[in-house]
């Protein structure tokens, strides 16, 4: 994990230096004057060799200093910290939706192989991998928000609802402050973005669960367990499901990366004030300090999630032990 993170920091470091105009532009924005550019290049030590610059950059990084946003004049780290809970909340809700529905769906599809549910889940998963997440988000917004008016489509909380933010996780905040009207309101705001973001992972999780369950169902030990008269429910739970979960966990881990990418797009559609909209605004306003910070944070989360997936293998499959 550490080598990957170091590699990442090198990539992002080079990214900023490869930008048209270089890091001075990244700091000052494109309307900076000639003198201020020279001034900042001297201050930053941009005339020094690249490896010296990198070491200093890495030092700043470890201290949590990612520079200052050109558009808000705020430290990038503070901005990222403020917006992270929104994205986390959305991603978690989407993943709960995808896993909570995808695993039972895939499992039932495999149990009733080539039945109606099986075919429905197959078609769904095909559409799921073919639909761009932002299009799906727009469709949901149109049908359930605009046409039916069932659910809110903008932001995390209605403007008439007040809520204290000790953690910035709105659902958690409303529970902590026992503010139940804010609790239902924030949940309502979560529904459409979470479904939009979770549908593609749902399709993939269902498909993998189905394939893995089919594989396991034809294993000898399942036949043996049934032959010795074990309760079918126990066979399913202890022998089938548990062994079928291994590939599912891998896919869930891989999906997290896609989920983060999808979050960038979903957040835009629903005006969700998370990291995704932050990154998109950074592109729009050429706020390179924020852009590199955002990319770094997303990649960091992705690496951590993959590490967690590797660790969870050991729990699910005692045959794998890491030294």
């Amino acid at each position: 994990m550490v080598p990957i993170l170091l590699g990442l920091s090198i990539l992002v470091f080079l990214f900023v230096r490869a930008l048209p105009g270089g890091p001075a532009i990244a700091l000052l924005g494109e309307r900076a004057t000639e003198e201020s550019l020279e001034q900042i290049e001297e201050n930053l030590g941009l005339d020094e060799p690249l490896h010296v610059q990198y070491v200093r950059y890495l030092g700043n990084l470890i201290e949590g200093d990612l520079g200052t946003s050109v558009s808000t004049r705020q430290p990038v780290t503070a901005e990222l910290g403020r917006r992270f809970p929104a994205t986390f909340e959305l991603a978690a809700a989407a993943m709960i939706f995808a896993i909570g529905l995808g695993i039972p769906l895939g499992y039932l599809a495999a149990k009733r192989y080539q039945g109606v549910l099986d075919n429905v889940s197959l078609v769904m998963s095909l559409i799921g991998v073919s639909i761009p997440v932002f299009f799906l988000a727009l469709l949901l917004k149109y049908v359930f928000g605009v046409q039916l008016g069932w659910l809110p489509t903008i932001g995390r909380l209605g403007i008439t609802v007040s809520l204290d933010h000790p953690t910035n996780f709105y659902v958690l905040d409303s529970v902590l402050t026992a503010n139940w009207s804010a609790f239902t309101d924030s949940l309502k705001h979560l529904v459409l973005p979470a479904i939009a973001l979770g549908t593609i992972p749902l399709a993939i999780v269902a498909r993998i669960t189905r394939a893995a369950t089919l594989d396991v169902l034809s294993e000898d030990y399942v036949r043996t367990a049934r032959a010795k008269g074990l309760d079918p429910l126990v066979v399913d739970r202890r022998h089938v499901l548990r062994n079928a979960m291994l590939p599912v966990v891998t896919v869930v881990g891989l999906q997290t990366g896609l989920l983060l990418t999808g979050a960038v797009l979903t957040e835009t559609v629903f005006a969700w004030p998370g990291l995704g909209t932050l990154i998109l605004n950074a592109i729009r306003f050429r706020d390179y300090a924020v852009l590199q910070g955002g990319i770094l944070v997303f990649a960091f989360i992705f690496v951590v999630v993959n590490l967690l997936v590797d660790i969870s293998y050991a729990f699910l499959n005692p045959r794998i032990r890491y030294r």
Binding site: F134, F135, D215, T261, I295
Partner: protein, 298 residues
């Protein structure tokens, strides 16, 4: 044995079968794959014969300007956009860009992935280690973000965008080919070739690569769908190809996302075009996978 079965056996004896012929037979019997071929043929025809099919010039105003243009109406199959341009014509012409981008970016990813994966798989040792760590690194950045970063550096030209979308595919191809080659490298026929003195480079190019290529063909097809969606996503975040003369589906959709309430057709139809083309490619890819390796059917 019934007469029909006897005849069938006769036919299969007469026709020499091989990996690719068998695969083609299986592919032709797969209804999903045929639907996919149909969809893609429609889009290819639209792209190639766009000037003949589209009733209007996609870049020209042909109807009234409107803040919230109305949907399909007489004379305009899918309606007009806010600048009075014909949406159907724009979507037909859009097929050109989407298919081109899908094809070229996958070729970019495939070419580099092929070289890197082959080197890693065949040479092994530190070359393998170095290449695969760089691939891991690229995979650790979510694809769209990597593409966003690359386009920010390279600029928003069509070629740069195809390059960026191609680059994010490189690690997938490289990994796949490497794995496939590792499986082939120890095969008996490679040992046989080596023992009669065939030079290493020739073993790689003539013996191992053709035997490792099947999963890449499948992945390459599926990657085209991803590439089309990826470019549309770049357009959606405002980094897509921005030449107004060449309409792009993602761009049309993105430009009109805030008119969803009043002019849903401007969002719905370009989105549908993206979904149908990606669906067609995915169906073909799945069909190829099952045709080339029937064991993989799941």
């Amino acid at each position: 044995m019934s007469i029909a079965e006897a005849e069938a056996a006769q036919i299969s004896l007469e026709r020499p079968s091989g990996l690719w012929r068998d695969a083609l037979d299986r592919f032709r019997r797969n209804p999903g794959a045929l639907v996919g071929v149909f969809l893609i043929v429609v889009f290819i025809i639209a792209a190639v014969f766009a000037p003949a099919i589209a009733p209007f010039d996609p870049g020209k105003q042909v109807g009234p300007l409107a803040t919230n243009p109305q949907g399909p109406s007489e004379g305009y199959l899918l309606g007009l956009d806010e600048q009075g341009r014909d949406l159907f014509s724009r979507i037909v012409y859009g097929a050109r860009l989407s298919l081109l981008v899908g094809l070229v970016s996958v070729l970019v990813g495939l070419a580099f992935g092929l070289i890197l994966g082959a080197l890693a798989g065949y040479l092994g040792g530190w070359v393998d280690f170095a290449i695969m760590r760089v691939m891991d690194l690229m995979l650790s950045i979510p694809g769209l973000l990597l593409a966003i970063g690359l386009v920010t550096i390279l600029g928003r030209g069509l070629f740069q965008i195809m390059l960026a979308v191609g680059v994010i595919q490189i690690p997938i191809f490289a990994r796949l080919l490497r794995g496939s080659i590792l499986g082939q490298r120890e095969a008996d026929y490679v040992l046989a070739a080596r023992s009669v003195g065939v030079p290493g480079r020739k073993i790689l190019l003539v013996h191992i690569l053709p035997n490792s290529i099947a999963p890449l063909i499948v992945q390459g097809t599926l990657a085209m769908a991803t590439a089309i969606i990826e470019v549309a996503a770049l357009s959606f975040v405002g980094l897509g190809p921005n030449d107004p003369r060449f309409p792009e589906w993602g761009n049309i959709l993105a430009e009109n996302a805030n008119r969803l309430q009043e002019s849903a057709h401007l969002v719905f139809f370009p989105g549908l075009a993206i979904v149908l083309s990606a669906l067609g490619i995915n169906l073909i890819g799945d069909g190829l996978r099952e045709a080339i390796d029937p064991k993989l059917k799941s």
